[in-house]
Amino acid sequence: MLDPSYFAAADGFIARYGKKSSSIIPVLEDIQEEYRYIPRELLTYVADQLGVKESKAYSIATFYKNFSFEPKGKYVIKVCDGTACHVRHSAPILAAIQKELGLDGSKHTSDDMLFTVETVSCLGACGLAPTLTVNDEVHPKMTPEKAIGLIQDLRGDEA
């Protein structure tokens, strides 16, 4: 059973955008941002509140990449694999990070719930390719070594 605070937070988001069906995407975005995932019970609740069928809410939540039913790590690392980053060799960076964290193409979040690793198609900082973001903060001109260093720094902050 989800903590009541989740529902209270959802009520707040709903109030922000209005109790109408078109608010579903912005409300889910806020939930995703707040909790780093969308708890299923909350999806049901939001759908009900906004007068959207649960099946439709589910179809929306699974259509857009940014929504996730799995809790994400504290640090969401998005490695850019847009064209500009790709031609400047972003693939080895992703591989190095995945290796460091024991992740792969199907396992995105580390067991300690600290890191989630994803790829993104473009961050709009192409001039500084290859790039990655950690919770929306852009890190420019990456190399596999710099990326590993970054992860170690973040781990150090936790220790």
Partner: protein, 625 residues
């Protein structure tokens, strides 16, 4: 903020704002574009503010959200790779790669004494110092309309936007032109949609304006710049948000719409934040909302964040997403101009298109025609990235040649390599090669060569880029982003991707090439929306221009660019090898033979190309062929 009730009040406000701008003895303009922020420009701006706070003779003023301590955070100054960028006015010094420890010297030398800090100037290819922006070839050869203010004013200051002529166009339209005249002006200007297709904006506006009896109409801005390698629209939204807002307000007045939506992709948090702030400022000042400037005209603006779906850049998918649905395109007609958002007549243009509108209304369509080519008037912004010396954001007249962009502005190929191709128009575009270097880029010319201008991403590639792998890369992108509604796109992109994956893995056959072409044509012809229709373009254009490369991958299993992992051939130089046996001992599959102190060799059939021997060789005898 005091509300600006009428035209006269706007003039007063402008005079005040100009006076305030002119009263600065010195202004430190720190670039706050996404690129420079990533390079650490926020720390530079904070340090400068901190340092300037202690100075007695620098004007300290506060206006609104952003404190003006003679330090302003501007939109993209263009040279993203050399960030953080800092410009010092009135001396017009352009500093590059500024570090926090440089700030004190800048303040000491430039701010207080007007002297340059030479070591922070840009050096061109001939090692000449370039003290001012106009000395830097990258910046000197541009024509800026859309990006006019980016880098010159505080990105989120409404007063600074007004000071440099902002809202003159809106006041002219509201008080001297009727809506139809505004539509006519845009129509005569020949402004074409900057988002991809190059459809005439005036035609859309006319069609929406013609729906006189609609209860409500909408103006929608496509800021879902999803093409990887393109960041022009993001730069406008975060660097000059008021220009976009004014452009959309003008569109609303012209076609009789009172509601507007800006759909911004999720990856642009800076854009979303600055648009929200700018909209609130404009509303508070009476330049947006009800009864704008006392004219009785109303226009309300909303910001919608995307949630990560490339297909939402397609018009009907975008409106579906705003309505709270899955972002899936629908069949047309009905067209968006007749039944768009919530099935009402809707003007849908992209960010750059709206950002052109204020200047056209103010200076007239004849002025607009003096720039660019006959059928593609005006300028185009491009984001220039990839294997090029100067990456960044540029704006040039339509018809500028690829050679001028790559060599004169971009400074040529990074590291002095050879130009191979440029991918234009993102995953929906094609590639242009050496033979096209002198083609003037505009909407029509590029189409002749199986490519599109698209939104304006230019990714430059040198001989270290494998074109088959590039085609595979784009296909994996469009395949992943296909919404799945229509089968030609859903299945076709998947089948094409499978073939391309086979070829880069060295398992392709010559029949695959024919199959690839056949599916490409089918998907192009039969897909429902622009995503599917254009998805095969990278394949079609690389097959046409780099067919030999495909053939090499298939017949002799060779990737000349040494990119395709499966086709790499590891070899040991018999002359260099000292027979230390390290490689043989480290090889995980025992693919290396040879005895102590004798040259070793790699068994090609056993080698899994892991690269262990290459990285471990003490004398550099292992290489890739």
């Amino acid at each position: 903020m005091i509300k600006i009730c009428d035209n006269a009040a706007l003039d007063l406000r402008r005079a005040d704002a100009r006076k305030a701008l002119e009263s600065y003895e010195c202004r430190i303009l720190v670039c706050a574009g996404t690129g420079c922020i990533a390079s650490g420009s926020q720390v530079i701006a904070d340090t400068m503010r901190e340092l300037c706070k202690e100075l007695p003779n620098v004007t300290v003023e506060c206006s609104g959200h952003v404190p003006h301590i003679g330090v302003a955070q501007t939109g993209c100054q263009g040279l993203c790779e050399l960030g953080p960028l800092v410009r010092i006015e009135p001396w017009h010094y352009q500093y590059v790669k500024v570090k926090p420890e440089d700030c004190a010297e800048i303040v000491e030398q430039s701010v207080l004494q007007g002297k340059p800090v030479e070591r922070l100037f840009y050096r061109d290819q001939k090692d000449q110092l370039c003290p001012k922006p106009e000395d830097i070839p990258f910046l000197a050869k541009q024509t800026r309309i859309v990006l006019e203010h980016c880098g010159n004013i505080d990105a989120v200051s409404l007063d600074e936007y007004i000071a440099v002529g902002g809202y003159e166009a809106l006041s002219k339209a509201l008080f001297q032109m009727d809506p139809d005249q505004v539509v006519d002006e845009i129509d005569r200007s020949g402004l074409r949609g900057r988002g991809g297709g190059g459809f005439k904006a005036g035609t859309k506006w006319k069609q929406v304006a013609a729906h006189k009896d609609a209860d409500v109409k909408y103006v929608v801005c496509n800021g879902d710049e999803g093409d990887p390698g393109a960041f022009m629209d993001g730069s406008v939204m975060e660097g000059d948000p008021y220009k976009l807002i004014e452009g959309m307000t003008l569109a609303g007045y012209a076609v009789g719409a009172t509601e507007g939506y800006i759909y911004v992709r999720a990856e642009y948090p800076n854009s979303v934040a600055r648009l929200h702030y700018a909209i609130a400022q404009a509303e508070e000042a009476g330049l947006l909302g009800d009864d704008i400037l006392g004219s009785g005209v109303s226009f309300h603006l909303h910001v919608n964040r995307g949630a990560g779906a490339f297909v939402c850049g397609e018009g009907s998918a975008l409106t579906a997403s705003i309505e709270g649905n899955r972002g899936m395109p629908r069949t047309k007609p009905p067209r968006t101009v007749d039944q768009g958002l919530w099935e009402r007549p809707t003007v849908l243009n992209n960010v750059e298109t709206y950002a052109n509108v204020p200047d056209i209304v103010l200076k007239g369509s004849d002025w607009f025609h003096t720039i660019g080519t006959e059928n593609s008037p005006g300028t185009k912004t491009f984001s220039v990235t990839g294997s090029i010396a100067n990456t960044g954001l540029i704006e040039v007249p339509m018809g500028t040649t690829l050679r001028e962009i790559v060599y004169d502005i971009g400074g040529g190929i990074k590291g002095g390599g050879n130009f191979k191709a440029v991918q234009i128009g993102g995953p929906s575009g094609g590639c242009l090669t050496k033979e096209h270097l002198d083609v003037g880029l505009d909407f029509d010319s590029v189409k002749k060569y199986d490519a599109i201008v698209g939104s304006g991403g230019l990714v430059v590639m040198d001989e270290h880029t494998c074109m088959v792998e590039v085609a595979r890369f784009f296909m994996s992108f469009t395949q992943r982003e296909s919404c799945g509604k229509c089968s030609p796109c859903r299945i076709g992109t998947k089948r094409m991707l499978e073939i391309l994956e086979r070829i880069v893995a060295g398992k392709g056959t010559m029949e695959d090439l024919d199959k690839l072409e056949e599916i490409a044509k089918f998907v192009q012809k039969n897909s429902l929306c622009g995503l599917g229709k254009s998805a095969p373009l990278p394949v079609i254009s690389t097959l046409k221009r780099f067919r030999e490369e495909y053939k090499e991958h298939i017949t002799i299993k060779k990737c000349a660019a040494h990119v395709c992992e499966a086709l790499k051939l590891y070899k040991i130089d018999q002359e260099k090898c000292i027979g230390c046996t390290k490689c043989a001992r480290n090889c995980p599959v025992d693919a290396i033979t040879g005895s102590v102190k004798k040259p070793h060799a790699i068994l090609v059939n056993k080698c899994i190309k892991c690269g262990t021997c290459l990285s471990g060789c003490p004398v550099g005898a292992v290489h890739i062929e």
